[in-house]
Amino acid sequence: MVKYILKRVGIAVLTLLIITFLLFVLVRIMPGNPFPSERMTDEAIAAKREEMGLNDPILVQFWAYMKNVLRGDFGKGTSLYNGAPIKTVLNKAMSNSFKIGGMAILLGTVVGLLLGIVAALNRDKFWDVFCSVFSILGVCVPAYVFLIFLQYTFAFKINLLPYFFDSTAFLESSVIPAISMSLFTMSTVARFTRNEMVEVIDSDYVLLAESKGMYGWQLVNRHILRNALIPVVTVLAPLIVDLLTGALVVEKIYGIQGIGKLMVDSISGEGIDYNYVLALAILYSALYIGIMLVLDIVYGLLDPRIRVSKKGGE
């Protein structure tokens, strides 16, 4: 098992390194002038380039950049936030995004699981129909549409919750974005749980357990849930990643100073901020690969067959 984990970690780190390098090279060869001021003379620009190390070979530049990144230092922005250090801006943005995203994941998973379980245990009754309608809705309607709807109803029509994000009233103002972001996770987890449960309920060993006189919560907990939930872990990985992407628009609409909004600001404004794009791209890739890695390992821990088959497949 340790070998399995080490190998996965190794691959993940290597992949991240390759992606970071590609991103770095791409951003460096982009056309564009890092010194937008027209008052600078050619000599001044040349001197500045030399000072910033932009004339060094790309590998040397990359090495210098990576040394800083590993210390958490992404340099300074060129146009956003008046060139404040990216690190401070990013830390605050990450804290906002992760808190709200975490709430959304928690809410979505817990409610989704419960809904799925209830639906599977009451097959073809009200909760089952509700679950399937709900999961269709969750797949068809993007999170930001839910957000707009909730914002319009509960913040504009009824003045119950804040219309925009307000960091002084964090809890109240994270209700609307957290709920709207959780709906996709909720519906997918619910549908998946329900389908897996139904399959397990129909299996022979559950029939056997039942015929031996097992019933109620004991049966559900010991025989059904345990086997039904393993596949649900696999859908969680892409869901969490989707949440990161979906958060982009949600953060933009609701005015949350998070990494998603930072990303939108850095690419869609008038002046594109290369340093922010690079920093955020690395951050997103690291998050993505990290989440995939963690869930891969969790999945391996939960289901020994995965480890064995992956080893055998080599």
Binding site: T15, T245, Y288
Partner: protein, 305 residues
Amino acid sequence: MTYWKGVSRRFFAKKRSVIGLIIVLVLIVLAIFGPMMSGYGYREITSVTDPSTGKVVAATGLKPQIPFLGIKGDSEFFGDKTFLFGTDDLGRDLWTRTWHGARVSLFIAFITIFIDVIIGVTYGLVSGYFGGVVDDIMQRTVEIANSVPRLVIVSVLAIAMPKGIGLVIVALLLTEWIGMSKISRAEMLKVKELEYILASRTLGASNLKIIFSDVLPNTVGPIITQVMFSIPTAIFTEAFLSFVGVGIMLPECSVGSLIEDGFNNITTLPYQIIPPIVVLALLMLGFNFIGDGLREALAPKLKDM
């Protein structure tokens, strides 16, 4: 009964897939003919006569008027004109814009998915057929490409390319082929050792012929299913990019940019956001239903046979 007859029988036996098919067909027809039905251009600022002053003014912010549902809207302004979905803040007819937007979204989705299928299937088949070192290199590349979040690809593209329809298409081209390549590679691995391939090879068929005329037909079913799931993803991504402001640019419109317009006017013209959202949701619904139906029809479980 031939294989495809069985597939289509199983497909049409499911209510959901038929509903999905009808929804998609209706939406496609409306996207093609809808903009022509109103008689207004999608970027045309329409004008109406103000009944109180008798002057001709731009028809800005008129509420929807749906005669057969009895919704009158602002009909005293309309005179002999009809605005089924109303008009936006500039006086453009929302019916025309909605269906034009649907047309643009569908167009982008079809074009990109078509190219993605060609790239992905070729990649997967070649990788699976040759195996060994070729397969290793090609699969490691895919793995790396697959670990780059879509968002990162889009943001890097946004600094490399002008914003607009081209960016959306390239972003989708770069991400959606991976799924196709996995499916076709898996299919290749499944059939490559079968006797008919060996027979073909013994008879002197070239690699090219084996890949494209012996194995390719096997991938048709799974690929079509994947296409049905990729199209909504493409529409979703397009809507997302346009909403963020790097996709479709004014005065062009797509479902995503229409939702953004609606959102910007939500406090004054709340009805404006409804049509594009409904169209988006129905497109998602329709394609997902068809995809589900096809998947089940192509790989029937024993009890459905």
